[in-house]
């Protein structure tokens, strides 16, 4: 059996730990730059605030109805997440941490006669009492089923946060009530395709020969079908497929008109993207840069400009990527617009260990480049100082707003909560 533990409205729940005055009050947390809503407490959900809704659209209504808002405070959330994962590891050492607020427990090492119900409630009670975070728990024979069970545990208050699927008869009944799009990894496009051939519920999907699915769709969906049948075949390793593309983009705090500021931002994003690229041991051949205006602001002239550039030699060199990104910016930039977002996308990867050399072999220059990049990455790893490249700028006028950030209650001694 596998358990999926998922923290309820994680960021919003974190914000409530040291703010007893916010008990039973609506709380939302905003994305970087205070752009849109990325977490909602139960009370905020009831007020009709939806996920990833642009903040300025709900702001007035939400605040005048007594809603509370925070900028994201990742230092704090990461610390609370670590605590949750540590408590879970004490309860079951076989743990796969899936995201900042979710973890799978592999219960197969437990004794056969263990009472899963009381185990689940013990997990829930400890994380709530010891750390202050409410969680939902789904337990089932496979990870895909555990994920489905967890969804129901979270959404349906009748279950009190815990759903356990063990008997085949119950699983069958459960799958019949589940639309296919609720299944882990089944997106909108796949749902439409499945619907065309008459597959509407999770039960319908589980009745199909997995091999047939593998031939007509893909291996991932084939595995999903096997998992729905109760045959466990997804391991932690499957989550870590190498990336196919890397995107770094950010909204600006305020609209930006000046090209030199856009250039600083693009250079900064380019350098972050190349770091990620090297971390994945990949080199890219294609890069795309885009700049755009705020499409929600109807009072200003709209623009969306982007262009791609194909490089002859695949690269992971920050200098080359910054230089080319700025060449693209030169081509697409137009005066007279107010830009609100800029970003870079790296794609067409080859792994850095073996790629075809072009006619003009650059191996020698490549060696010094990779040595330099390693040094840069190494220095940036140590938290003392960061080094960067000339055009990244130090003024950073376009950096994140995060205006209404809460204290770093658990990681800075000067910001710990007060008590009387």
């Amino acid at each position: 059996m596998f358990a999926l533990i998922d923290c309820n409205s994680f960021y919003a729940s974190c914000e409530k730990i040291f703010r007893p005055d916010l008990k039973n009050r609506p709380v939302v947390v905003l994305s970087n730059n205070d752009g849109c809503v990325i977490a909602r407490s139960t009370e905020a959900k009831k007020m009709g605030v939806s996920m990833t809704q642009p903040w300025y659209q709900v702001k007035d209504d939400y605040l005048s109805n007594g809603g509370i808002v925070f900028s994201s405070n990742y230092e704090f959330y990461a610390d609370i997440s670590n605590r949750v994962m540590n408590v879970l590891t004490e309860l079951c050492p076989e743990i796969d941490i899936y995201s900042i607020d979710e973890a799978f427990l592999d219960l197969r090492s437990f004794k056969k006669n263990i009472d899963l119900v009381s185990f689940a409630y013990e997990c829930r009670r400890k994380i709530k009492e010891w750390i202050g975070i409410p969680v939902s728990i789904g337990i089932a024979p496979t990870k895909t089923l555990a994920k489905l069970a967890n969804k129901v545990a979270k959404d349906d208050p009748r279950f009190d946060g815990v759903v356990i699927l063990s008997e085949p008869r119950i699983i069958r009944h459960f799958l019949k009530s589940m639309p296919v799009d609720k299944i882990w990894g089944v997106g909108r496009r796949l749902t439409a395709r499945l619907s065309e051939i008459g597959i509407k519920t999770a039960f319908d999907l589980s009745q199909i020969n997995p091999r047939l699915i593998g031939e007509n769709f893909n291996v991932v969906l084939e595995r999903t079908v096997r998992e729905l049948k109760g045959q466990s075949c997804i391991t932690l390793h499957d989550f870590m497929e190498p990336k196919k593309q890397i995107m770094v983009s950010r909204s600006f705090g305020k609209g930006v008109r000046a090209k030199n500021i856009l250039s600083e931002a693009i250079s900064f994003h380019a350098s972050r993207a190349s770091e990620k690229l090297r971390y994945e041991h990949q080199k890219c051949r294609l890069m795309t840069v885009f700049i755009r205006s705020n499409r929600f602001n109807t009072r200003i002239k709209q623009i969306y400009a982007s262009r791609s550039l194909e490089m002859i030699h695949p690269t992971d060199d920050t200098r080359v990527i910054i230089k080319n990104a700025n060449r693209i910016l030169d081509l697409i930039f137009m005066e007279g617009y107010q830009y609100s977002k800029a970003g870079i996308l790296l794609s067409d990867f080859t792994d850095s260990f073996g790629y075809q050399m072009s006619l003009f072999d650059r191996r020698k220059c490549d060696k010094t480049s990779s040595k330099l990049m390693k040094t840069v990455d190494y220095i940036n790893l140590m938290e003392i100082a960061k080094i960067g490249f000339g055009n990244q700028g130090y003024r950073n006028t376009w950096k994140m707003k995060r205006e209404i950030k809460s204290k770093r209650y658990t990681t800075k001694i000067s910001e710990i909560p007060l008590v009387k």
Partner: protein, 133 residues
């Protein structure tokens, strides 16, 4: 969380280049005292808070003391605890008698009856406090 990032390798001096005679104490080296180990039994449920006021002075908690609070402990009679009361954190001594009470340790002792507080949530047990002199 309480990390060991700043914690120096206790045997670093062994790796220093030594000329002349080896130290006769080398084989008797122990780890230096680790304050985290001393004060924190369960890091994942331990939080720090700063105490403001003089209510707990007779228990040795001065104004601005740092409280170490373990949320995994169940309070027993006469423990010092932190609880939220009507939206505010208070540090008090808890008494389990015929009534559940919260008392301060100062002379004008104000007693609170827990069952009469509408919004009472226990946060955790104070295991130690750090005063700076």
């Amino acid at each position: 969380m309480f990390s060991n990032k700043d914690y120096k390798d206790p045997f670093s001096h062994k790796k220093l280049k030594h000329s002349g005679f080896p130290s006769p104490a080398n084989d008797y080296v122990e780890n230096p005292i680790n304050m985290n180990e001393l004060l924190i039994k369960r890091a994942s449920s331990t939080f720090l808070m700063r105490f403001k006021g003089n209510e707990m002075i007779l228990s040795g908690i001065k104004d601005n003391a740092i409280l170490i609070i373990d949320r995994s402990l169940k309070p027993v009679n006469r423990n010092i605890i932190v609880a939220s009361i009507n939206g505010e954190f208070l540090c008090r001594r808890i008494i389990f008698g015929s009534k559940k009470l919260l008392i301060t340790d100062c002379l004008n002792n104000k007693i609170l009856d827990i069952d009469k507080i509408i919004n009472f949530d226990l946060l955790g047990v104070v295991t130690s406090s750090i005063n700076n002199y």
